[in-house]
Symmetry: C2
Amino acid sequence: MGHDGEDVTGSGLDRLASVNLNLLVPLLALLEECSVTRAAQRVGLSQPAMSHALTRMRRLLGDDLVVRQGAGVTLTPRAQELIAPLRSALQQTAHIVNFPSFDPATDQRVITIAMTNSTAFVLGPRLARLIAEHAPRATLRIRTITVPTEATFTDKGVDVVLISEGHYSPYPRERLYDDRIVVVASPDTPPDANALDLLTTQPHIVVDTDGRVFPYAVLEEKGIPYRVGQLVSDFLLVPFLVARAGGVALFRYQVAATMLTLADLRIEEFPFPLPGLGIDMVWNPRLADQHFIEWLRALLFDVATGL
Amino acid sequence: MGHDGEDVTGSGLDRLASVNLNLLVPLLALLEECSVTRAAQRVGLSQPAMSHALTRMRRLLGDDLVVRQGAGVTLTPRAQELIAPLRSALQQTAHIVNFPSFDPATDQRVITIAMTNSTAFVLGPRLARLIAEHAPRATLRIRTITVPTEATFTDKGVDVVLISEGHYSPYPRERLYDDRIVVVASPDTPPDANALDLLTTQPHIVVDTDGRVFPYAVLEEKGIPYRVGQLVSDFLLVPFLVARAGGVALFRYQVAATMLTLADLRIEEFPFPLPGLGIDMVWNPRLADQHFIEWLRALLFDVATGL
DNA sequence: GCTGTTACATGCGCGACATGCATGCGTCAT
DNA sequence: ATGACGCATGCATGTCGCGCATGTAACAGC
């Protein structure tokens, strides 16, 4: 009694009680990336957070692990030895944890997806339908954003964020669908007028919150004259305005295509090359339940491929 | 660009970023002990803390893991499957972390040991000498306690606690040395008086803070008459009082033996059986740096075996 | 059958830790 | 020389996990 020899002379397992195992994942990321900043991005941390974590790892292992080498950092010998067994141990651990734990049939969580309201306009209905179909107990909540900030990704209330490929974020991202700018016009416009004609002759209906900047910047670069006929705050007004009062508007193709269900519209390709406008899904690996994310990713792809 | 396929379709390693790996050690303890309370003790947690942790594990793994079965709990099938790979993964992880990180030759930490001042009286000098010898840069700090409380073990400032075997604590403990009560008397007492004679005829010098309760309780149970001659607050006064003014006192043998270096004393065995008074070292596995604890344990054994 | 005991769950307050921001500092490139 | 890049750090903040007190269920003893 009072002599827990098993605990003391055991296989060293109980030593782990005093070790912060959560450091191991950032550690592997750091060793594999050989860069504090990249490792931070990979695990969904900020650079200072990873740096602080590195300090803790150094205290834990009694080794510098990485040393400054000119611009970047290099691994110490000890770190080199660690990388393989660490990866192995973590893979084994991952295998333990990765039993499926998200059951769409019964899960009652609130699925929160952040996106612009134009993306919601495109994806929302199909998304809601598919979620209702495959996860009938879950609730879809769409959080409207205009421009993504750091807080958008670190907000625990948000599962995934859908943003245009032009917006940077340090977190893993995956292309959902490509998109482009098209010219939306009234079907009453002269049939022989091409897209450029429409842009120059028709008054523009401009949504002042979204998608305005760079297509118009291109027009101005090229010296294409255009006239703003109306500024509206809600892009949903546009199809009705265009259909009933004429004029043109610039929209993502997918938005325009969806608008066709609301009003009869003429759609023409934008006559100049534009940077990509694909929609990416982005998520913070630190906050995400990965079984759920995997499922949601597949579902979003279903939605996107049906466009 | 913007498509980190490696992160998404990798070996599932990045999933771990969102997993609290610190749950795994309590989890293994729970699965191996089949008891929330015992598992808590093993890893140095309280029962409620382990229960909370169990809740988190259940959320993480989507399984109840243990179900109430009459008095105790039983493992679910899923939990049964988990135990072996989990132990394996943690052993592998332990192997990674367990490179020696405590170097006595260079370590400058403050080594804090909590004990009663009578234990410090016994062990202090040898302890200080051995630490100065083997860890010359380290500092020994003895924290005096009277009776250990929960806070004594959860105090991060305390590395190990030395307590009598009579005091319960939920943490791992190991016997340092056995001890017993002896009768300390002046060498001028009649040589033919045995211990019982001394106890009944001589005035007792009693330290009112430590070790007084149960030897005297035994005397009272047995109906042995005794007379308290003096109450002192500092037990270090006792050897001088006994040697110069006569009387008897009850002390642990090791304390009495150490007192012999201060004054000439007569020591007799206590004439009745008493519960064990061994001194145990106790430490909280959650707070301890195990390399250091291992070293300190060996050092304390060195000290104790030299008594 | 009632009470005492044991074991697990839970509400709550508190403390500690990790995170992120702002900033500093060193290195490299132009 | 100056800007850009990458890592470190002081600091404030938020959150998580711990422990206490308490609740609840099952078993044992008389």
